[in-house]
Amino acid sequence: AQDSTTSGDIQAGGQTVTGDHSSSKFQQYEEIPSGLVLFGTAFAWDSKSGYTVDFKGENFGYDDQWATLEWAKKGQWKLNIDFSQNPRWFSNTATTLYAETQPGVFLLPTAMSVGIQGGADIRNYLNGSQPVGLKYERKTGKIAFQYTGIEHWLFKASYQNEQRSGTQPLSLGSYFSVGNNTVEIASPVDYRTNTFNGSAEYGDGKWFFSGGFDYSKFTNGLSSVLVDNPARYQDSTGAGADFWRASLPPDNKAYSFNLAGGVNLPYHHRVVANISWGEMTQDAAFIPYTTNTAINALATFDPVLPVNSFNGKIDTFLGSVKLTGDPIEWFGYSVTYRSYEMDNKSPVIDFPNYVAADSVAELNGPYSNDIIGYKKTTWGGEVHFDPVRQVRVGLEYTHDKMDHQFREYEDNTVKTWKGTLDLTFSQWVTFRASYSDIKNDVGAVNEDAALNDYSSQFDIWRRDTTQYNALLTLTPTSDLAVTLSTQYSKDKYPDSTFGRTGCKYDNYGIDVSYALGEKFSIYGSYMYEKYNYDMASQYRVTVPGNALDDWWNSTEDKVDTYTLGLLFKPISDKLEVSSDLTYSKGTSDSAFAIVPGGAYQGDGYFPNAAGTQYFGYPEVFNKLTIWKTKLQWKFNKNLSAAFQYWWQKYDAANWATDVMQPYMAWLDPTANKSLYLSATVPNYNANIFRAYVSYKF
């Protein structure tokens, strides 16, 4: 015991937040409190006879608290117990007329539904709106054990319990009901995910084997929500339902077994193989087609479900093998084969009818679910040459074939050629670059899928892509480092008449750091990024449409990101000043073009196009500024004090959400029976002052 050592530290102090900081965005994923705060603490014990204990934690008592404890015997075993809590705050401006009378049951005042059904204006009832939180917490507890007491072996087991509780916005459309009404609610989040992992591994430097098992179970405390229709208090087959019901994410399970093995072969070769197979299942009970008693009473409608639950099952499989070799000093290669499958073995269920919205029964069944899954087979190889020690030239080819269970095409194949260049000169110049030529070709058309939704499905369509990127790092002295980087990617869709027709991305960045002796260092960076997406479409009441109703959209997003920082130590081991500034500005512009002289038939809100007309969405932008400056004074090797000023400003404009109010018919007259949460994300401009002492022992 005399040889044991203990060490640790504690950081505590006070913090005050001033300025405009009420926005949910300010504390979207964290809590920044005012008052006395135990910012963090750590404790470590080393017995010197092989046992150790380590504890760390931060933000105790707050929404983003975490702690971790490790108890170990060196070289033998390790036990970790972790807890963390993370908030997710969506909005602090939401209001609602709904009262959640039971979990998942959202009611409105009866007089309101009666009144609106009788023709009253929904605005007459909005005074009763109450603020409602849109925020959930993710709490995770984990225990993990690792044993390395047998030479060459590693055993691991862990169990994790994650809970998410709170609310999130959920929008429900009953668009065939009276007034095309949509309602938003603060939907309960009551999720539990239990995860177990176990594995055993052997590695002796030549041979490697591993086997493992993963299991995950997701449980939703609520299977559905039942929501009052503001426009109806009586069920009707033509005008809508009193209530409607929506299914929430169903309980599900997943497991997988994993095996891997590898061996070093002569002449610097190695082969590694992996195999993994598993299953994802879901068999939660179905909710009824509808709560609309008028529809259920129709002689033509069969309310009895053909089955009570889905019994869905997806088998997953991975098989891969990779041979790598560096047989001679200037040449190496690798060959890979990989097959990954998400084989959807869920049943096809024929529903004789259904109710898309709660006023109209769809009676022309059967309506059957599509079985979505795929198999991706990859093979390829890579060769690299080192003509001199400082240079590597590489060439790769990869062949990816995706077989789809139910997509517009039976399959698509991506062929990628990639050239790489890596240079390292005198340890002060590093240059890395690559160029890729990627071609995606499609196989036979799946007529059933194509007819099903007429969609363009740009993710699998024929596509030609060119990509390059380059990274140059210069470190002419140990005090100076300069990094330059660029990336470029362009997608062409040669067969695409409608849907996405093009996509382009490029960026340019520079990062510089410079140290002036041991007392002063400075760094800065800048990154410029631009994204372009082009698409075409045509307004069609029926298929085919009128070419004069063609329209195009071009969206361009740009982002500028700057950082600047310094570290100054005017008095060695006593005074330290650091300052970091980040500024990010992103903008998004989206513009439309219409056929000159076309007979455009839009949704009625754009003026009909008598000639060439261009319309654009208002610019969306978000700007974030974070500036943190800290002054730290060390009294001695154990005790220090620090003062930190932190300025954080968020300035954004988003035409889609900034306008949100409970009643939106002032903007869209057809939304006159809708009820929204008025969930906005306001700007903020906050100042945080923090003073704390750190004591190390």
Binding site: T182, Y202, S247, Y454, S456, D459, G545, N553, Y605, A656
Partner: protein, 261 residues
């Protein structure tokens, strides 16, 4: 070159390399009975040669694969088991590119040369910029890091992901999206990245584009998906198409084939 022979012990190394030995003593590697020579090889010839650098393994003089081979003698299991032939290995990175076996000052987690995010973004500069987007995962708040999703030592998944596919990776935190669902949305089931950019976006919910335009890039079919929607339009404001098609990740309702419930 001939392998030097003869062990001298860490104490002897400290005679000349005091700082390195002191730093090494605080690291997990100090548990090794071989000490410095566990990585640098037997030191007798080096000592006998008066510090002759050609008589001992100096990592600066090794190729990246030679350097990493030394580490892999012990670190050949767990997260490192797929290193050989991985993207970083084939691009001439070595273990010591990111890890420092004898760091100055406090011993960092995993002996990283810089804090994890700073280290990764010293090459992946664009990822650092994405961190400051309005739509972001809680990385700049310190709740996640790059290795929450990626294994930089190589993996059996794409893009060095921890799981075997993009979606399986996402399901590890978003298990409610796993299904299988009665009504599946094909691009959702096949790849979350079709619509989302997990590294950060200027759009809400990490979307690559704003709805309705995002949805209309595929849905060019009849009626409202094929219309231009203005900002003053319930198909565009708030959550756009998701105002009605709220169960866009999949629905388990018998009446949910249009993802409305």
């Amino acid at each position: 070159a001939d392998e030097p022979s003869g062990m001298v012990g860490t104490q002897t190394c400290g005679t000349c390399h005091e700082d390195q030995v002191k730093a090494f003593a605080a690291t997990p590697h100090a548990q090794s009975a071989l000490g410095c020579e566990g990585c640098h090889g037997p030191g007798q010839a080096h000592v006998d040669g008066g510090g002759d650098k050609t008589k001992i393994r100096v990592f600066e003089n090794l190729t990246p694969s030679e350097s990493s081979a030394v580490c892999l003698k012990c670190h050949n299991k767990g997260m490192q088991s797929q290193w050989i032939g991985s993207t970083h290995d084939s691009r001439k990175l070595a273990c010591v590119t990111c890890h420092d076996p004898h760091p100055k000052g406090a011993v960092p987690k995993a002996l990283l040369r810089k804090p994890e995010f700073e280290l990764c973004t010293s090459c992946h500069l664009q990822r650092k910029a994405q961190l400051f987007r309005s739509g972001h995962m809680p990385m700049r708040e310190g709740k996640m890091n790059c290795t929450s999703c990626h294994n930089p030592h190589g993996s059996t998944g794409p893009a060095m992901l921890l799981q075997n596919s993009v979606n399986e990776n996402c399901y590890s935190c978003h298990a409610e999206k796993r299904g299988p669902f009665l009504w599946e949305h094909a691009p959702v089931r096949e790849n979350c990245l079709t619509c989302h950019d997990p590294h950060g976006s200027i759009q809400d919910n990490l979307l690559r584009m704003r709805p309705p335009i995002l949805c209309q890039q595929c849905h060019t079919s009849t009626r409202h998906p094929s219309q231009i929607h203005t900002p003053a339009d319930r198909f565009a404001f708030n959550q756009g198409c998701v105002n009605c098609h709220a169960m866009i990740h999949g629905s388990n309702s018998p009446s949910g084939q249009r993802f409305e419930r």
